[in-house]
């Protein structure tokens, strides 16, 4: 198929590839770009039939399977569990599998790659930097001093109230939408981003974890938690109700109270953390 490179909103006079005569067709504009594709910032447009429950991912798969197999998309579970199909849909980062065409209220859908992630091709972006930030905050329970009275094979017991402290933040599926929406990430490559900081709070708030100071010393950096300015966009786009902005403010609140403790100890921990990494 011969491709037509179009501007996203300039579709009125274009002879679109037509999938069917269904009256509920939409125009699906897909960003096309990659290392070996020119011109830059171009879009291909497809006419796709939709029904009431058609999701953007359904439309993309239709376009890829029946209209243009060269479209690059990434998806897996199709049920908002894996976080693979994050992309900018009509200007806002969303999961394609979780966004119904009908809820967008328009017949023109524009899909672009997630901002703030390096582009690989079309709608596929590289999550390496995002995952590096996530790993850096040591997202696992560390408990060096378990209660010796507890049988080593038994689980750590928690009350429902203790679980509620962190459960919300453990629902993160690492889809990167919050990272993509964050205005600080847009300008600071060293900022860990809402996902990593919310996960720092998730382990901080977990009663089983005792690496509180160590983890706080990682996020206590001039490019760390203090760069968050509570724009709230991360929580706005989160498809799982994780509310990263809440976690970050909670963590920052605790950090402000921890400054009453000797700063020397925090500095030592930070130095140890750097040597370790």
């Amino acid at each position: 198929m011969k491709k037509k490179f179009l501007l996203a909103r300039d579709t009125s006079e274009i002879n679109l590839p037509r999938a069917s005569d269904d009256t509920s067709d939409i125009v699906l504009n897909i960003y096309r770009g990659g290392p070996n594709q020119k011109p830059e910032n171009s879009y291909d447009s497809y006419r796709v039939p939709v029904s009431r429950w058609t999701t953007v991912l359904d439309a993309l798969i239709y376009a890829k399977e029946r209209l243009d197999s060269s479209v690059a998309i990434r998806y897996s579970c199709r049920m908002a569990s894996c976080g693979s199909c994050g992309m900018k849909i009509n200007g806002i980062p969303r999961l394609a599998c979780y966004t119904k065409i009908s809820e967008l209220g328009t017949h023109t859908i524009t899909c672009e790659p997630l901002p703030n992630f390096p582009l690989i091709r079309d709608l596929v972006t590289d999550f390496q930097e995002f995952f590096d930030h996530h790993k850096k905050i040591q997202p696992y329970i560390q408990n060096l001093h378990p209660d010796p009275s507890i049988d080593k094979l038994s689980e750590f017991e928690q009350t429902p109230q203790q679980v509620d402290e962190f459960l919300q933040f453990s629902y993160c599926i690492k889809c990167g939408l919050c990272y993509s929406a964050c205005p600080t990430v847009a300008t600071d490559t060293k900022f860990p981003g809402p996902q990593a900081l919310a996960q720092a709070y998730r382990y901080f708030a977990d009663s089983r974890d005792d690496a509180v100071e160590k983890r706080l010393s990682i996020v206590d950096d001039k490019h760390g938690i203090w760069r968050c300015h509570f724009a709230g966009s991360c929580s706005k786009v989160c498809p799982k109700g994780v509310d990263p902005a809440l976690g970050i403010q909670m963590l920052r609140s605790h950090m402000m109270s921890i400054t009453k403790k000797p700063k020397k100890r925090l500095a030592e921990l930070r130095e140890t953390s750097r040597e370790g990494s």
């Binding site: 770009g33 990659g34 290392p35 200007g91 806002i92 790659p113 997630l114 901002p115 703030n116 992630f117 390096p118 582009l119 690989i120 972006t125 590289d126 509620d164 402290e165 962190f166 459960l167 919300q168 933040f169 629902y171 929406a181 205005p183 990430v185 847009a186 300008t187 490559t189 708030a205 968050c228 300015h229 509570f230 724009a231 709230g232 966009s233 929580s235 706005k236 786009v237 989160c238 498809p239 799982k240 109700g241 994780v242 509310d243 902005a245 809440l246 976690g247 403010q249 909670m250 920052r252 609140s253 402000m256």
Partner: protein
């Protein structure tokens, strides 16, 4: 393998939004608008501060120099500038107080078990009310400033 990875990395297109990422306040609701206005008013007040230091430094040039400088603020454009100073400083102050509370986790709600449709607890009506109050008070202060500055003409 390393060379292959380097080549791959160089091929990837940087897709960072940069400044235009935070210059567009319309996509993410009131909180993002507040974030944008906070920066914009902060930059404006910084410019005003520099201008204000320059203005008051004219005092060392004597009474005539000082009066000549003051006359600049008595023009229509001078009044409009002062009204903007009133509005931006009011918004920046009130919203700043809201942010002091928010960034110490006051008025954000508590973590809980999220239910569909997953409305974020931190983007609640307390926060939005704070933003609206800042906007309304800034508008009211600008109106009052206008009535004082232009009322006598």
């Amino acid at each position: 393998m390393e060379a292959f990875k380097d080549k791959q990395d160089s091929n990837k297109w940087s897709n960072r939004e940069g400044l235009k990422g935070w210059l567009n306040p319309t996509r993410y609701g009131w909180e993002r608008l507040s974030y944008w206005l906070m920066r914009l008013t902060g930059l404006f007040l910084l410019l005003y501060f520099v201008g204000h230091v320059y203005e008051t430094s004219n005092l060392v040039g004597g009474l005539d120099a000082w009066n000549a400088m003051l006359e600049l603020t008595q023009t229509t454009y001078g009044h409009i500038f002062l009204i903007l100073v009133i509005g931006t400083s009011t918004f920046h102050s009130i919203n700043g107080i809201r942010l002091i509370f928010a960034e110490t986790a006051r008025g954000l709600g508590k973590p809980g078990r999220p239910d569909y449709p997953y409305e974020a607890g931190s983007l609640n009506n307390i926060q939005r009310s704070g933003i609206w109050v800042a906007l309304i008070l800034a508008a009211a202060a600008m109106l009052y400033g206008s009535s004082v500055l232009f009322g006598g003409e």
